[in-house]
């Protein structure tokens, strides 16, 4: 655990905000739930926050709240990737994707400086599948196309990606998460990936 904690009382004193404001911001998801760390002290249970994170966040909220609504701010701070875009250079620097996957993506959709959420997921899944060695680059192109065309339709609901090969011919399917799938005997289910777990993995990679 982090040692650098600040108690709620000290925080309010330091920043000059009231209990009501703090609780309202929590309700509006401007301050994540897991920053509220409960610890027992001699006065009973007290709430502590990771000091640097919370001070930075409150500073941002105070400065931005005159120009943006609390809901807009919540979107901004949301860990949800759908509100997120990433610079291509940043992505390479963090070693999230290899050059091979990057080239595949740019060959198909053109060079882009900023990657949207959907591209990011597609790229990450592509990278994962290529690294298992089960999928070749040509199939990777189909994968990108499938994700590009259809992933949006799931609209944030969980979905699984299924990779089937029959007599050397590859096919990708996107199905809603957890559904059962039955294949004919000659078809081989090469891989099944729950995209939600890929998103989670990607998030943790990005938050490091």
């Amino acid at each position: 655990m982090e040692d650098n904690l600040i108690s709620k009382k000290d925080l309010l004193e330091l920043t000059g905000i009231s209990y009501g404001q703090l609780y309202r911001w929590k309700r509006k998801d401007l301050i994540p739930e897991d920053w509220f760390i409960r610890k027992s002290t001699f006065t009973g249970q007290e709430t502590f926050f990771p000091k640097d994170k919370i001070l930075d966040r409150i500073d941002k909220i105070i400065h931005l709240k005159d120009n943006a609504s609390l809901d807009d701010l919540a979107d901004l701070f949301s860990p949800n990737l759908s509100e997120m875009a990433l610079y291509a250079a940043d992505l390479k620097q963090r070693n999230i994707v290899s050059d091979v996957s990057w080239q595949l993506l740019t060959a198909q959709f053109g060079e882009a400086e900023v990657l949207t959420y959907e591209r990011l997921i597609a790229l990450y899944v592509l990278e994962q599948m290529l690294q298992t060695g089960e999928m070749n680059r040509d199939e990777g192109r189909i994968l990108l196309q499938v994700l590009n065309d259809h992933y949006k339709r799931f609209d944030g609901k969980s979905c699984d990606l299924i990779f089937i090969r029959k007599m050397g011919v590859a096919t990708f399917l996107l199905i809603s998460g957890g559904s059962e799938v039955y294949l004919e005997d000659h078809a081989k289910l090469v891989q099944r990936i729950a995209l939600s777990s890929s998103i989670e993995a990607l998030k943790t990679r990005l938050s490091k």
Binding site: Y19, G20, Y23
Partner: protein
């Protein structure tokens, strides 16, 4: 906000349904919803079990409802008994019956005229509680918190001999706090008014503090 399909669920008698998105869901009898339920209006007049989470713009529960997951309702009125395993979020809640939540409860306005047991935190902009029985929450936080006892002093005393009618919380924090018949470890806030029959270990206030002579406050300090 949501685009609701035109379908309704109406249960009269004993029936079950899978979840999904609907316009109106009415249960007058015994209903079980297997899965998550999203709807514009949710009305339960009998017994209803939701084996998933519930999301409604308006919900009114007059019977007994159990919700296995989380619940969200912009407007919620409870006249019966509701148990929620997850957390409850929304805008305006009116509790006239019995509400039990295993998680947190978050709203803009929380009015209670009945009994609530919240194992997590009760967090609302405005909290108004008239306690009719033993109410409790792990933590109560908000802007304006008013807790008073319901009914006449005589009835409370009479009831008090049978059951504890106090509101119990570990911590109560807010900008304006007014308490009666409350047991708490710590009360913290701007302006605090401790009314009759409170047992509080520690009060920390910023601007103002009044303590009724019949209340016990072990320690108080201005911060």
């Amino acid at each position: 906000m949501y685009d609701y399909p035109s379908g309704d669920i109406q249960i009269n008698g004993i029936a079950s349904s899978n979840g999904g998105t609907f316009r109106r869901v009415t249960v007058d009898g015994m209903g079980t919803i297997h899965g998550d339920l999203t709807c514009m209006d949710f009305a339960c007049n009998g017994t209803c079990k939701v084996d998933g989470s519930l999301r409604a713009e308006r919900a009114s529960i007059d019977g007994i409802s159990k919700i296995k997951g989380a619940a969200h309702a912009d407007q919620l009125r409870i006249d019966g008994k509701v148990t929620i395993n997850g957390k409850l979020t929304g805008e305006e809640f009116q509790v006239n019956g019995h509400l039990k939540i295993h998680g947190d409860c978050e709203a803009e306005r929380f009015e209670s005229n009945g009994i609530f047991v919240i194992q997590g935190m009760l967090n609302a902009g405005m909290i108004e509680v008239a306690a009719h029985g033993p109410c409790s929450a792990q933590e109560i936080g908000g802007e304006q918190i008013t807790i008073r006892h319901a009914g006449s002093q005589f009835m409370t005393k009479l009831l008090g001999t049978f059951m504890n009618t106090h509101v119990t919380a570990t911590t109560i924090e807010g900008d304006y706090i007014s308490l009666e018949h409350t047991t708490a470890k710590v009360v913290r806030g701007g302006r605090i008014n401790i009314g009759p029959d409170c047992i509080i270990e520690r009060v920390e206030y910023k601007d103002e503090l009044h303590i009724h002579p019949s209340s016990i406050v072990k320690y108080h300090t201005q911060i």
